[in-house]
């Protein structure tokens, strides 16, 4: 019996789908059987990020309405044997499925997979409500911006009403330079406002956008910091204790001396 994890944020464009694709891929690379479920019906993206758009035959709504078996709708990833995608329907909208139907589908998938990752649509209306009913756990993605944090806070409140397990936080697109000059909130500030456990911090990197456009999740890039951050998140999901990556690598001689003298 596997575990279902919903990835949500409230606000759009903070990196839910990117995080879903990367966390799912990282878990699969670690040898787990993973199914990614795109619950954003009508606005599907996850297939594009994984480069699987052209392989879709059946989708989530087909499976729910029993026009096909669930395994017929699953698409195996082109690089990872243990990673599958259940794509959203593009021609329907969010009202075409109910929470109970999705709960059934997720329960079926949990029988066959170690992890079922649900990519939640933005907003807090029907699509969101449906996406969270089948989830055992939740990951809230936010960027260090006030607007995203407000929405994340609202979503955490809603999740706490529904969910058994308290949600975990991923801070996405952190720019260390901006944090340094005061133009961006630092991670501690975000965590102190949202008051939930931090699962990971992903640095801002244009390489992530490039990777998304080519359908190659950034976790495949071994040397990329964002990819490493997602791999660390996947390890923490599996229960490993992994220290947070030090984003600021400028521990040069002067700061070392300062630290040694007790100034920094």
């Amino acid at each position: 019996m596997g575990e279902s994890i919903v990835i949500t944020s409230g606000k759009g464009g903070v990196g839910k789908s990117t995080s879903s694709a990367n966390i799912g891929t990282a878990l699969a690379l670690a040898g787990k059987k993973v199914c990614l479920v795109d619950a954003d019906i009508g606005l599907r993206n996850l297939d594009v990020l994984l480069g699987l758009e052209n392989r879709i035959i059946y989708d989530l709504v087909d499976a729910i309405e029993k026009r096909c078996r669930i395994d017929q709708a699953l698409i195996r990833d082109k690089r990872c044997d243990e990673l599958y995608l259940l794509p959203a329907a593009q021609t329907r909208d969010k009202s075409s499925i109910s929470g109970n139907q999705l709960r059934w589908l997720i329960a079926e998938l949990k029988e066959k997979f170690d992890y079922v990752i649900i990519d939640c649509p933005a907003g807090i209306d029907l699509g969101f409500q449906n996406a969270i009913v089948g989830a055992d756990q939740a990951i809230v993605v936010t960027t260090p911006e006030n607007t995203a944090i407000r929405d994340a806070d609202r979503v955490i409140g809603l999740l706490e009403k529904e969910q058994v397990a308290p949600p975990k936080l991923v801070v996405n697109r952190l720019r260390k330079q901006m944090v340094k000059d005061g133009g961006m909130m630092d991670v501690d500030e975000v965590v102190s406002v949202l008051a939930i456990d931090l699962l990971g911090v992903v640095p801002d990197d244009e390489q992530v956008i490039r990777a998304g456009n080519t359908g190659e999740p950034i976790v495949y890039e071994n040397r990329n910091a964002a990819g490493k951050a997602y791999r660390d998140i996947a390890r923490r999901i599996q229960g490993e204790m992994v220290p947070l990556m030090v984003l600021d690598k400028e521990s040069n001689v002067i700061t070392k001396v300062k630290r040694w003298l007790g100034f920094a």
């Binding site: 806070d153 809603l158 406002v193």
Partner: protein
Amino acid sequence: MDMGKTLKPGVTIKGTKDGLFFFLDDSRPFSDVLADLKEKLENSHAAHIWDGPDLNVIIKLGKRQITKAEEIAVRELFSVRKNLIIQEFESDDIPYLLGGEQDLVIKSGTVRSGQVLIHKGNLLFLGDVNPGGTIQCTGSIYVLGALRGLAHAGCEGDTNAIIVASVLRPTQLRIADVISRPPDKWDESEIGMRFAYMIDNQIVVERIHHLGQLKPELEWKEGRRHF
């Protein structure tokens, strides 16, 4: 007052080395007692008795219990005599305030965006109130945590309600019917515990150590008698 009847006075005053005891008769309506007290304190003939060095005052209520509003009424009457300092109110063997102990309820958690915490009475909240979150009480609000959202104290009209927070960074403060918005930019020096109260239909924020001056009934001083 009827001249025919001989009533014992509504207020009897006794001087001791600890200060002045004001015995308020518990057998007649409190409004009569207040009228008597007002006369005694404001009577210009007796002014020479009152004007002098600071004196501690203990109010003895007998078997009577009073409301917070009645306590405030007594304190207002005493405010004309600056040298008379009320140390405490006492009833015989019972708490002097009606409703027994002060109704301070403790709750903890996080009030998140979109959530509203409503409470009747005074509330001690252990946790944060985030932007977009609301905490609303008929009495005062004490937040041990960061108040970043909206706090509405005295929401049924109690203008004496106050709002206290370890970190007072609200999006908006309301006391009774008055609404105030903090400055758009926070002064970084404004850290530490603060409280908000209402005066002249305006909400004012002060450092916590000013609270005793504004709410003498709350102030603790070393060496005072307590109950």
